[in-house]
């Protein structure tokens, strides 16, 4: 099967790429000026994790919208798979951010707007799964959780864009700030490592996501066979 061979090749590529990112993050990229010790290196993992958490949220939205149109159980499985990864990565981003905050500012939690945003994202994912747990009927579970995902997506922008602007933020301005210009003055090796890591983590997301969806597809197909 060529399909499988391509897949295997992609796995090795992803593994190699991630290894490269890790090595680059610790040895190749210099540590940033103005940060305590080597603490700035966490950015190479923290930022991509937060990015994947947001990406998963968007994939979840698209799958949820599709489910309500197609009523295909596989679309529900897609939404759930994205949300599962979103939960893991938003947890990782929260924890890594917290560790960094403790090193830099001697406090795990500072009520920084972006900290609050990721924590809320975490809450949304947790609520999403609490809802799924509470509904035994599969068709109803799928449409209720899709509805909730869409509702949560509509309120998120208010959190990310409306609330934070009113506060002062500890975070450096986003890579591409509100003005659309490159705000963060990073050393080029740091920038390359960060972008490499973003690509790697996105690949990791795609791999885990397709794995989960393929598993769901197999389960659905088996049930179809059993019922037929």
């Amino acid at each position: 099967m060529t399909d499988n061979r391509v897949r295997t090749a992609l796995h090795w590529l992803l593994g190699g790429w991630m290894l490269l990112v890790i090595v680059a993050a610790f040895f190749w990229a210099p540590s940033a000026v103005g940060f305590k010790g080597e603490s700035s290196r966490i950015v190479f993992f923290h930022v991509p994790q937060a990015w994947v958490a947001v990406l998963a949220f968007c994939v979840n939205l698209v799958a949820s919208l599709r489910y309500l149109r197609t009523r295909d159980p596989l679309d529900d499985a897609r939404a759930a798979a994205a949300a599962r990864l979103g939960l893991v990565f938003s947890l990782l981003a929260t924890v890594t951010g917290s560790i960094f905050a403790n090193v830099m500012w001697n406090s795990f939690w500072n009520w920084d707007p972006r900290e609050v945003s990721i924590a809320i994202l975490l809450l949304v994912y947790a609520a999403y799964f609490a809802l799924r747990e509470a509904v035994p009927d599969e068709e109803r579970r799928a449409s209720l959780s899709a509805a909730y995902a869409i509702l949560a997506f509509v309120t998120m922008p208010f959190l990310v864009f409306v609330v934070p602007r009113i506060y002062w933020s500890l975070h450096p301005d986003t890579i591409i700030g509100a003005t659309g210009k490159l705000k963060l003055q990073m050393e080029s090796r740091m920038l390359q490592t960060l972008f490499g890591s973003l690509v790697g983590f996105t690949g990791l997301f795609v791999w885990l996501y397709t794995l989960d969806v393929r598993l769901a597809r197999v389960r659905l197909a088996r049930r179809e066979r059993e019922e037929a």
Binding site: L131, T155, F158, V162, V163
Partner: protein, 229 residues
């Protein structure tokens, strides 16, 4: 073709809610008592004099919304949960258009919230000596807050009624949706207390109205799915 109009159906649902509520008073009692209890606990233990002058604008606006929000949480989910508990949901589902059900229930929750606000807010201001300079500003913030809170809680109530129907699940699902709204409401209240200018509440008001409007619009599309599946 249906002979009834959407408006008359919505009003029929609202009328039914009001009649049933006036006879049982379950939601009114839950919300009113919860609100009064927390208000009295806060007023008795903190009162106007336990807060430093420089902290007053921050603490007083936040405390007010904590009282209002938790009182509302205790009663607003009932609109749909009671239909499922009493097995009237299916009867209603078969007889009414989903949009009419949503509109009727939304208006009912809006009335409940307005009743709660008009009971608790004046009492709170009196008991905590909360001097609000912009009374008009506060009224506008409260009105917008009622509209927005009613929309999030009505659609979340519809979702949880079709799940387990527990108040815990209502809280879990509401918190991430309502948190930005609560932050903006507290900011708006603080702004109204500090300034007599109506313009002072405008930044918060924009956020509250657009969030409430967005949730309401999306709910209109999502509700039929939630209600029927």
């Amino acid at each position: 073709m249906r002979a009834s109009t959407l408006l008359s159906e919505s009003l029929a649902v609202l009328g039914k809610e009001l009649t049933a509520e006036l006879r049982s008073r379950v939601a009114l009692n839950a919300i009113g008592l919860f609100g009064l209890t927390t208000l009295i606990a806060v007023a008795y233990q903190i009162g106007p004099y336990q807060i430093q002058e420089q902290d007053r604008p921050y603490l007083l606006s936040a405390l007010l919304w904590i009282i209002l929000f938790f009182a509302a949480t205790s009663g607003l989910s009932r609109v749909f949960v009671k239909e499922e508990d009493a097995h009237t949901a299916k009867t209603l589902r078969l007889a009414a258009r989903p949009l009419a059900v949503f509109a009727g229930k939304y208006l009912f929750n809006l009335i409940l919230l307005s009743a709660l606000f008009s009971l608790i807010v004046p009492l709170y201001c009196a008991l905590m000596s909360y001097r609000v300079r912009g009374v008009a500003g506060l009224a506008v913030v409260l009105a917008a807050g009622a509209v927005a809170l009613a929309s999030t809680s009505t659609i979340v109530a519809a979702i949880i009624a079709r799940a387990s129907g527990s108040t815990t699940l209502f809280a879990i699902l509401s918190v991430p949706l309502v948190l930005p709204l609560l932050v903006m409401l507290i900011q708006g209240t603080r702004a109204a207390a500090a300034s007599a200018e109506l313009a002072a509440v405008l930044p918060a008001l924009q956020g509250i109205v657009s969030l409430g409007g967005a949730v309401l619009t999306v709910s209109v599309y999502l509700f039929p799915v939630v209600w029927h599946d």
